[in-house]
Each structure stands twice: as C-alpha cells, then as structure tokens.
C-alpha cells in the first residue's frame, strides 16, 4: 500500500469509527438520558414548576428564572448553591460530600449544581430568592477611587429597576475570555442607596489574577453592556435604634457607603461610629464625602485609620483597625457591630467587639471569600 492511500484509508477509518460512536451516543442520550417532564415543588406548593428532567437542579431553576447564588458556574467547588430538598432527592454524590457538613446532610441540604433532576422534587429555598432577577445594564460611569479600587455605576436596562435593602449584594457576570472558557460570577455589595432604583454602584478591588476583577480593570469600558443577578444576602441594619459600630477595610466600604446615604435620605438619627482601615493615605477614599455626612448627621462619626509605617503628615488614627477600635470603644453593651472585609480582619474584629461586651448575636458581618 502506498503512502497516499494509507493516509486516506486511515483517515476514513478513524473518522468512520468516531462518527459511529458519536451516533450511538447521541441516540442513547436521546432515549436513556431523557427523564421526561418533572415537577419541582418549591416551598410546599408556593410555586410549582414543570421542567424537563436530565439537567442539574441549579441550571433547571435558572432556566425558570429562579437564581440560586453560585460563584463557580456549576462546577461543584464554591458550595454557594445549597438548596434543601425535602422529597425525591437522589443519594448524595461523592462530589457533594466534601461540601456538606453532617448537620446539613441530615437536614437534606444539597449542592444544587450536583443534583440532577430525574424525578419530581420538593425543595425549599428562602423566599427572598424569588425576588432575585437577572439584570442587564450599561456601564454609565467608571472611576478609580484609589490605585487598585474602582467604582462602577451601572444603569439598569432590563429590568429597569431593582428593589433591595442596603447591605445586599449582586453577582456580576464576567464573560468568557482568554483562558476562561465559561462565564463566572463574582459577588459584590451594592454601594448605592435603594432610592436610586435605576442604578447600582459597585466598588471593586483589583485581585491579582482574579478572573472577574482583571476583566473589570483591563477590558470593561464605559458604555459596555454588563449582566448581573441579585439581590442576595442577609447583611442589613437590624431594626431598632441601638448604637452601631461599623468596621470595614478596602472595598468593604461598599455596603456602608450605601447604608450611610440611605440613613441620610431617611434622616435616621441612630448613633454610629464607622472605623475604616487602610494601609496608606493613597488607599483612602470618600473621606471628604464622609466628613460632609458627619456634619449633616449628628450621631454619625467617621474614623479612618492607617496601619502603614510611613505616613508623613497624617494626623488621624494610626495602627491596625482592631487596635483603633480597642482604643475608641469603651463599653460595647447595648451596641451592635457591623463588619465587612477580609476574613482575617473580620475574625480579629469580632474578637475585639466580643471582648468589649457586644453579644455575638448582635455582631453582623459580610465576609469576603
């Protein structure tokens, strides 16, 4: 057999074998992996969905416009998409075991991206998730607040308005680019007040090699279309008029920037001290705005603090934010703590606040992960 015909017959044989295998698999998928119509009952009959079985629960719910928080895009790594399945759940998959505690397993909590819909299911989700929607918007303004923190102001297009409470977050979609074959979602707190229904503002800090933040800092431009879903989250100001202690660092500013403006608009006179930690003066932002708000709101105090060694000309507070809180806060009894920032900062701050007498159930936080 000469070279040319060898190459030709090899190609034909390999192609034919692959094609035959593919056809067999397609037919099998059509008939074997088709689980027909299934019903998903949500929160004991408060909503009933008719869906086609065969896909993961998370994706199936998303098709029905019910958005469960998820950051990894259904790969079973972030463990955000937990859902309680009260009836019809398949056995726990090995991929779920590492993400669920024993207590969660007993309470029928499951990782919804790892559970396939094969039969009728009954699930329970927080009512608030019904309000979660998929939004499209346009970047109206993008400005650098510091050398590595950027503010996005997004004008909503579809739907044109959003309802949320200050402190909640949305999940911004970073589209597929470069080495990143699928869109990923990252959570950012809304920093605008809820009265501005047609816009959301986000404060985003550049994370080296972060998929979403790199996209925001290097590719996104004013006028571009963006997609996000939300609002999510239980972080909010508790009812009542207890005195508040806020502690934040870096882009942990976001929920508090929204809360302060919300309090100003509604003339809330609740006493509040806001400790904001940074390394150097170049990491501070909104300082003038907060000092103006201090004048307009009698009970409100803004305490920025720098932890870096070289800060010539800085007359404000110095040291780690926990040390500053330690110095300023005399007695925490009857007060409430609100924290937003990295997990290290939050763990250290919770310790200080508890030592100062704020009970653990009056300390609320939003931890970056």
């Amino acid at each position: 057999m000469d070279g040319v015909s060898f190459v030709l017959t090899s190609t034909v044989v390999v192609a034919a074998t692959c094609l035959a295998s593919a056809v067999v698999l397609l037919i099998a998928e059509r008939y074997l992996a088709n689980y027909g119509p299934c019903t998903i009952d949500i929160n004991q009959g408060s909503k009933k969905l008719e869906v086609r079985g065969g896909k993961p629960l998370l994706a199936t719910l998303m098709q029905q416009q019910i958005f469960i928080p998820s950051a990894c895009g259904g790969r079973g790594t972030c463990a955000y998409c937990k859902v309680k399945i009260t009836d019809g759940a398949p056995p726990i998959a090995p991929t779920e075991l590492t993400l669920l505690t024993d207590e969660e397993q007993q309470k029928n909590v499951r990782i919804s991206c790892q559970v396939k819909v094969r039969n009728d299911l009954a699930i329970e989700i927080p009512e608030a998730l019904f309000r979660v929607k998929q939004f499209t918007g346009v970047v109206e303004r993008m400005r650098d607040l510091t050398h590595d923190i950027r503010e996005l102001r997004i004008r909503l297009v579809e739907p044109a308005a959003i309802e949320f409470t200050p402190g909640q977050y949305v999940q911004l979609e970073a589209p597929a680019y470069g080495d990143n074959p699928e869109p990923v979602y990252r959570a950012y707190s809304i920093s605008s007040p809820p009265s501005d229904k047609g816009h959301v503002e986000l404060i985003i800090r550049l994370v080296p090699n972060g998929i979403c933040t790199t996209w925001v800092f290097t590719m996104l431009k004013e006028g571009d279309e963006v997609r996000f879903n939300g609002p999510y989250g239980e972080f909010r100001l508790a009812e009542g008029d207890a005195e508040m202690v806020w502690i934040a660092g870096g882009s942990g500013m976001a929920p508090f920037w929204g809360m302060t403006r919300h309090m100003r608009e509604h003339n809330v006179q609740r006493p509040c001290t806001y400790f904001f930690g940074a390394v150097a003066q170049r990491d501070l932002f909104f300082t003038d705005e907060f000092h103006d708000l201090e004048k307009a709101m009698p009970g409100f105090r803004f305490v920025p603090a720098l932890s870096g060694a070289e800060n010539d000309g800085w007359t404000g507070e110095k040291g780690l934010i926990t040390q500053v809180v330690e110095r300023h806060l005399k007695d925490g009894s009857g007060k409430e703590g609100y924290l937003c920032g990295s997990s290290g900062m939050i763990d250290a701050s919770v310790k200080i606040l508890k030592a100062k007498g704020i009970p653990e159930d009056r300390i609320f936080y939003d931890k970056f992960t």
Binding site: M1, F6, T9, S10, V13, V14, T17, C18, S21, A22, V24, L25, A28, E29, L32, A33, P90, P91, I92, A93, P94, R118
Partner: protein, 202 residues
Amino acid sequence: MTDPSHAGGAAHLLVILVSAALTDNILLTRFLGMCSFLAISRQMKASVGLGLAVTFVTTITCAINAALYVWVLRPYGLESLQLILFIVVIAAFVQFMEMLIERLSLGLYYALGIFLPLITVNCAVLGAALFMTNRNYGVTEGLVFGFGSGFGWMLAIVLMAGIRERLKTARIPPALEGPGITLIIAGIIALGFVGFSGMVQP
C-alpha cells in the same frame, strides 16, 4: 487466525476463558487496572458492582474491537491504528454504560462514583484488547477472552474486598494501613495465582 468453528472449538474457547480468568489473570499477573482496584476494594458492594461493570465493558469492547481489527484494520493494513481506535471504542462504550447505569440503578451509579467514567482509562480494558490482537484471536475468541479477563479482574477485586472487610477489625501496623497492606495482600494472592500457571496453555 484460528477459526473458532473448527472441531474442538468449544474446548478451545474454554481454554481461552480459563486462562484469561485464572492463569493469566490480568490484574494479578499483569498488574493492570490497579488504581480502581485499590480504591474500590474497600467496600464489598461497590467492588461487585464495579467488577460487573468492568466485566461487561471488557467483554463487549473486546468483541467490538476484535471485529474492528479482523474486518477493518487487518484487511487494510492499518494495524498501527489499533491503539487510538480501541480507546475511542472503549470511551464511547463506557459513556453509554454510564447513561445506562444511571438510568437503571441510581444506587450503583452513586456507589461507583468517579470510577465509572474512569473505566475508560482502566488499563485492564485496553490491555485485554491489545493482548487479544497479539494472540491473533477472532471475534468469538475475543468475546470469550474479554469476558475471561473482565471476570478475572472481578474475581481479584472481590477476593480483595472480602479480605479487606476482615482487615477492618484486624490489628495492622500503622505504617501499613490502607494501600500498604492492600499491595502486600495483592502480592500474596498473585503468588497464589502463579500456582495455576502451566495448567492450561492457550
């Protein structure tokens, strides 16, 4: 190629079967398919399930691959393609199996977990197909050889699962717990299987 239909064909096939399952046990004399063997043999139920799945996959893929080899590759002089094509056939068939098991037995599907797709790269399955072409088997012989190899693999993993069930209550030196003691036991069983050698000559 030996014609399986000649006189004494049944005896010939029996010899192939026994030698593949016992004297030339693919796991214990060739040490193929060790990784799922070590991981799954902890549980008896999953071992039987995986053993059945491997037996089934090996039997059918050996028959398909033998047909492909005898009727397509050899007539056209394309023996050099056997490696890639065998893998394509095995991968497609395992995918098919996965859908089938998920449909028929969810319990088995979850018990096998990650090892079900991993049958694709279970070297025992590919090894059986390659040994088969080395020995110039036809389609029927390939089918029998594949069944024998898969059955032998299942025999080994079920033996091991039974022993490891007993090991749960045994006192094992801490340094040998897990894979250590399992490999030593596999070695001892393999020595035992050497005793079968010479009994049959395929």
